[in-house]
Amino acid sequence: MRLQIRNLRKHYAAPVLRGLNLHLDAGAIHAIVGENGAGKTTLLKILSGLTPADSGTVVLDGAPWAAKNPKAAQRAGLSLCSQELSLIDNLSVAENIGLRALPGRLRLDRATLHRRCRELLDRFQLDLAPDQLVGTLNLAERQMVELAKTLNSEARLLLLDEPTSALNDQQARALHAMLQKRANNGVSILYVSHRLNDVLQLCDHVWVLRDGKVVHNAPSEQLTVAEVIRHMSGKEKLAQPAIAAQRHGSVHLSVRNLLTRNMRQPVSLDCHRGEIFGLAGLMGAGRTELLEAIYGLVAHTSGRVELLHADKRIGLTGVNDAVKHGVGMVPESRASQGIFRGLSVAFNATIAQLGRVASRHLLSRRREATAVDALIRRLNVKCEGGDQSIEALSGGNQQKVILARWLHRECSLLLLDEPTRGVDVGAKFAIHDLLRALRDQGVCIVVASSELQELLALCDRIAVMSAGRMISTFERDSFDQEKILEAAFSAHNTTQMA
């Protein structure tokens, strides 16, 4: 299937795609690469009908086309294998793979289903029983099943989003062989991946995205990994905000060989008072897992987290402990972990430290109102007042209220996971200014962000994680976007070569 995309635009809170042009011939495998937030996933979502484009045209085999919904996209011959797996845990492997067209009229024809499934699994060199429940599989196996499900269709254009993120090299090679065979039969493939060595080996052509636009495209044989990274990061050096490296204070947070069940490698780090410490890395690098481990949301299997107060070392073992000793966290998912829906701004702002608006255990409405009004003014939260429901506020203002929660508590250590995701530009700068002000007051701040520009603008030090490992740390005067990106990709590429 031939695909042409002209001037595609999409705007969420901020523009994600700004006039993207791309074309793909029948039987070709093209790669789309770019930093987090370059617009890769959004492009695939638009093509597969999960979200509409604002403007621009998509042409399939010469006819203009717009996917109304995923079903329409499937009928047109497009098939998406997304990062968020869409498997049903309580059905078997075979049932999941064959879900789109289960054999049999009234009664499910299990024999046929299992035979077809086994053929497919064999081609993947996947040692699974067709009747095994998907819920019992590990992440890599699930990803393989998801791929098998995608390849089981008669699609003529495959959209693969990070298909090998959980696979080992052998499994990835098996997948690549199958993709190659499909391509030889005329199926076109758009392949999104961070594993740049794979990309250059498998794909005919590479499209580099940055800020929602194609900034470079060339046949694979004319590119090297280093060149691709250079194009992704942009040639021109970013103008650094004129802030000198902060002279920070003593060590406040000390993490030694910390490991939990959802971290892949033990991690150690030190953060200082009056420092903003950034955690950079690709999607799935383990930044969120590290923050959750420090905060104590997941039990430690080994290692220590300690707060250093004057001459005391306080070991933190769980989240209650952490909050008690002045640690606060702004979670990645505002809706599910951050806000209390349907309750007031005041409730949301004071919940972590009710002691300050109560005497003994009795709440004082007056003190609460005073405290909340002060917070609203300090953070410039746009709302009608403390009594308004938090759901009525915009994403940026909700985020400010969650920050207010920890300001109210007067934390000495703040952990922030994607603090400006889904936040408009104005609120984003306001949040940055606030974090700098807190830093200047001596608060120790750890920020994880997928947006490298944000970290470069905000942090005094940046640590780079890749595939669960702490790769390297950059001081402010040696910030280098290209080197940071290289570090972020490093673990993906070394495992590939190994």
Partner: protein, 328 residues
């Protein structure tokens, strides 16, 4: 913007009507109760008499206490299906203790303690073993009822008239000590929920346990305490029930958990957790009681009474949903 508002002539009438609407909205449950009472006053002779009303109120202590506990648990995001059986078990303990020769205060204490233990077991299994509270309390519903039969030998145990002092109307008030006790519990519980740190924690855990945990609140401990409160109140309700009967009936409180849930829901409590009011739940109890008695007085048969009660429960939720959609 604020500076200009005095210059604009206030439009009084729409403002008034909006305020009336908001007032109606806030006191919807209360207004419904008054409407129901008014209806029965017009339909039946002598409904609005001192005698009828105090008779209704004096039946209520057990249901009121159990409903208060249930409302706490529902707001905290759980449910306690065991309250009816725990009531029976506590009453059985009281009966057996008295029969063994202990004084009534000692027996009453033993009964309430029984409720506390049942609540503690619910809480430990439900929060610390992470079993679904629905299932744990369903198990307790069966088990507590079974124990009640076991220790009473499935017989009614006579306690005697001494305990009935609790349900003798105070002469100048026409209300019983038991009902006054229930009223005090309602007031204290309402205060705890609306004006204390612990009340905030209950609402936070019921609204979003994950966010509560991130804010340094222990959702397990909160739910454990709330289930214990519910157990204690069910035990106290067992005492009220024994006093009312002057004896212990192992069949007491059958289906009471459903009546309590109905009362809480009529009072606007959400089964999804986070939202509800003790005071409104108490009004819910009154609505159920007035309906039962009023319908009986105008000669409605028992089966039809149940149909009406069912309709009222569903209607209450419909009204509540409508209200939630209209008033953001």
């Amino acid at each position: 913007m604020k500076l200009h508002s005095p210059l604009i002539t206030p439009r009084r009438w729409p403002d008034m009507s909006r305020r009336l609407l908001r007032w109606l909205d806030q006191y919807l449950v209360m207004v419904s109760l008054l409407v129901i009472i008014l209806t029965f006053t017009l339909a039946a002779e002598n409904f609005l008499s001192y005698g009828t009303l105090s008779a209704i109120l004096n039946q209520l202590p057990a249901l009121t206490l159990v409903t208060v506990g249930m409302t706490f648990v529902l707001i905290c995001g759980g449910i306690d299906l065991s309250v009816g059986s725990v009531l029976a078990l506590s009453a059985a303990v009281i009966g057996v203790t008295v029969a063994a020769g202990f004084s009534i205060p000692v027996a009453a204490l033993a009964g309430v303690a029984t409720g506390a233990v049942a609540g503690l077991v619910n809480g430990l299994l439900g929060s610390y073993l992470r079993l679904p509270v629905f299932i744990v309390t369903l198990g307790m519903l069966e088990a507590a009822r079974g124990f009640a039969y076991l220790i009473t030998d499935s017989q009614t145990v006579y306690i005697g008239s001494a305990i009935q002092g609790l349900v003798q109307p105070i002469p100048w008030l026409a209300l019983t000590p038991a009902f006054l006790c229930a009223l005090v519990v309602v007031a204290v519980a309402h205060f705890v929920l609306t004006a204390t740190v612990f009340g905030r924690h209950i609402i936070a855990v019921g609204t979003n346990p994950e966010a509560a945990r991130m804010s340094g609140i222990d959702p397990k401990l909160t739910l454990l305490i709330v289930l214990c409160i519910s157990g204690v109140l069910a035990g106290l309700a067992g005492l009220m029930n024994s006093a009312y009967l002057g004896s212990t009936d192992p069949n007491a409180g059958l289906g009471l958990e459903l009546a309590a849930i109905a009362a809480a829901v009529i009072g606007g409590t959400s089964l999804m957790g986070g939202r509800g009011s003790i005071f409104s739940a108490f009004i819910g109890v009154l609505i159920i009681a007035v309906l039962q008695n009023g319908l009986a007085q105008i000669g409605v048969s028992e089966p039809f009474k149940r149909v009406v009660t069912g309709v009222v429960i569903v209607l209450a939720v419909v009204l509540d949903r409508w209200r939630a959609d209209r008033v953001p």
